[in-house]
Amino acid sequence: MKDNIVKVLLKALSWGILAAIAGMIISVIGGWVAKNPVTFIQQMLNGLQLGFVYAMIAVGYTLVYGVVKLINFAYGDLFMVGAFVSFYGITQYGLSFLPALLLATVACIFLMVIIDRVAYKPLRDAPRIAALITALGMSIFLEYFTALKFVFSPDYIAFIRPFELVTWNVGGVTFTNIQLVIASVSIVYFLGVQYIVGRTKIGKAMRASAFDKPTARLMGINVNAVIGATFALTGALAGTAAMLYATAYPQIFTFMGIQPGLKAFVAAVIGGIGSIPGAFVGSLIMGFVEAMTVGYVPLGSTLKDGIAFILLIVMLLIKPTGIFGDPFEETK
């Protein structure tokens, strides 16, 4: 009898604490919504726009990490190169939107494959840290090399949009054709990558190489070619994402890749690195959190970079494998 009372009391206490925490979070967000629902939806749309761009980069990180277990630090800078290539395509050769997108994509594919051949391939059997440092060195090299005057110049350059900006106003919430383009391209790429990895022969080879390289080799899979194909796929993602990002936030400079690259990687870790839907969901969460920080937290625009990493550290402490991660990954 006494046991039962204690049990009920403790149960009530523990669920009460959980409910109080949940209630606090809901009341804070609810407060934002109640203050001005239109602004809130507007912020959410901005967050989604950012999240869809991050999603493409994050999928690129997660693919490489899944197959070669390497944080491709140079990926953010590949993204930067894509933005510059599309900029020069538009200004020098007067390309319209789709050809410029194609040009950036192809350029990034080539550059990524070359980086893989030169810097990563010789270290494939070396300790993982060696490859990581090489990736870091490659990243810094790309940043400073492209900042030279005869390459891309160290200046901030205003990106010229290849198409007219159209805005629609629905009940006070404005959204643009850029947002529609970004969301649709990002979803198409996501479905495409899912299809390639899940349904095609090369995708099967990728999964086999990710799982066990020596065995995959024994089964007649050309592992190096598969890894090259993975890098090419991520190059395509970076090139397209770069063009879209530059269209949405029209200012390019040679260090522009660092922040989106790092945040997309953080998003991939939050979603569960190695998982493609995880990278997608994690990026949307990341975009949402960033937009909310800028919109509602005092000093938000200076704090937003810090918040992303606080989120990362909290996630690593609670569940290092991420939302969609394989729970047994860490023990392997």
Binding site: I140, F145, F265, I313, P320
Partner: protein
């Protein structure tokens, strides 16, 4: 009897005397411009920072990228202390010292109290008790909340209380005591205190950061420490909201110019000797064994996590010391000196010089700084090439000689001591081994 070589302590003392006094003579005769003197001093303090990173990465095998954050913590905290004493901004000349010391003492005592009361253990104890009535999830929720409450209470009572006492004590005692000294001497004493407290604060923050993060491995550790570096950078950028004199993104100015060659050199010499003795002690061997094979080390009774945290915190303290020297060298601090890209600089020095080699690290630091400044003689259009060359060097070293130029070789008095080497060679239990190690090797 023929004396083959001088004892180690004598060669070390002679070496330090020759180099230290020699450079002092050269610079006091004006044979070296003030600019190059500053470059040499910068190289020396970067060598301290790189030695810290070498301990983290070379000896403990922790690939951590947040080194510049600790460098910045040491720089800002020490600058607050000396600036308050000499320029004055908080009303009491010891205000900065009192604040930093209060944080440090409060922090240490809070950690001691938490481990003394076994508050981490409390959670498991309570969860086991509660699991009689509750599901595991509910039990762990209640236990975690109780642990957080108990921990928070301990931190506030023990840490806050002792910190407050220290603050009051320093505010009341230090100005009259130091004020009795001649002004020049009191400035040097404050500088010494600032250097020490900068290093200690960086080490403590390193310990605090290491506790949760060091259980992560490889890439996760890298990205989490990188994240910490960016969080610290954001904090420095907005620090003026907390302490107005830190000036945030505008940069902290008017820091007294106290760093001189004797200070830098003495700090570097002490840092080098401490590092050498630390790494050849039984603790150092334990750290090396954890790097080489954590599982084997654990079976030998070595607490891998403890030694990783120790190495990490000590490495951070070295970064803090270097930062404190840096702050008083140029008398200007800006957050952009402590971004995560700056964490790569000491990394390049270590990788270039030799991972796990003190000689290599020191040589790497000087090579890096002298090369970076020496390349300024290039014509103006090639100046920007400096930052293109150094990642290329990293790439080349990683691809062709991943262990660095020196590998893990040491020169002179930094070599493994003879006695230890002999025992090492014969595979006997050495005198310096801890009980557990000795037992394990007997079995």
């Amino acid at each position: 009897m023929k004396i083959r070589s001088l004892p180690t302590w004598l060669t070390a003392t002679l070496f330090f005397l020759v180099v230290g006094v020699g450079f002092q003579i050269i610079s006091s005769h004006g044979w070296l411009s003030g600019y190059w003197q500053q470059v040499i001093m910068l190289g020396t303090l970067m060598a301290i920072s790189a030695l810290g990173l070498n301990l983290k990465y070379g000896y403990a095998g922790l690939f951590a990228l947040g080194h510049a954050a600790f460098y910045g913590i040491g720089a800002y905290s020490s600058a607050l202390i000396t600036k308050d004493w000499i320029v004055g901004w908080s009303g009491n000349p010891a205000g900065g010292l009192a604040g930093v010391l209060a944080i440090e003492v409060g922090f240490i005592l809070a950690v001691v109290a938490i481990s003394y009361f076994k508050i981490g253990h409390l959670r498991n104890l309570m969860r086991d008790k509660l699991s009689r009535w509750l599901t595991p999830f509910e039990a762990s929720v209640l236990a975690t909340v109780a642990m957080l409450l108990a921990g928070g209470l301990t931190i506030v009572v023990v840490g806050g209380g002792s910190g407050w006492l220290v603050r009051q004590g320093v505010l009341a005692l230090v100005p009259p005591v130091l004020g009795a000294l001649p002004i020049a001497m009191s400035q040097q004493v404050i500088f010494l205190l600032a250097l020490l407290s900068g290093a200690v604060l960086a080490g403590l923050v390193g310990f605090l950061v290491g506790l949760p993060l060091l259980s992560l491995t490889y890439d996760y550790l890298c990205i989490a420490t990188l994240g910490f570096g960016i969080i610290t950078y954001v904090f420095f950028n907005n620090a003026d909201k907390l302490i107005p004199t830190m000036k945030g993104a505008r940069g902290m100015v008017n820091i007294p110019n106290l760093t001189t060659w004797p200070w830098v050199f003495a700090c570097a010499a002490v840092a080098l000797v401490v590092m050498r003795n630390f790494i050849y002690s039984s603790t150092g061997r334990a750290i090396l064994s954890v790097r080489d094979d954590p599982i084997a080390a654990e079976t030998m009774g070595i607490n891998a996590f403890k030694f990783k945290t120790l190495a990490y915190a000590l490495g951070c303290a070295y970064a803090g010391l270097a930062g404190a020297l840096y702050a008083h060298l140029y008398s200007f601090l800006h957050p952009s000196n402590f971004t995560w890209l700056k964490s790569v600089d000491p990394f390049v020095m270590v990788v270039f010089g030799g991972v796990g080699s003190m000689t290599g690290t020191v040589l790497g630091a000087y090579t890096f700084e002298l090369l970076l400044e020496g390349l300024r003689v290039l014509p103006a259009e090639f100046i920007d090439w400096r930052y293109v060359i150094y990642p290329l060097i990293v790439l080349a070293v990683m691809l062709f000689r991943p262990q660095g130029l020196m590998g893990n070789k040491e020169w002179g008095f930094l070599k493994l001591p003879k006695i230890a080497k002999k025992e090492h060679g014969q595979g006997e239990a050495s005198a310096g081994m801890s009980k557990a190690e000795a037992q394990a090797s007997e079995n």
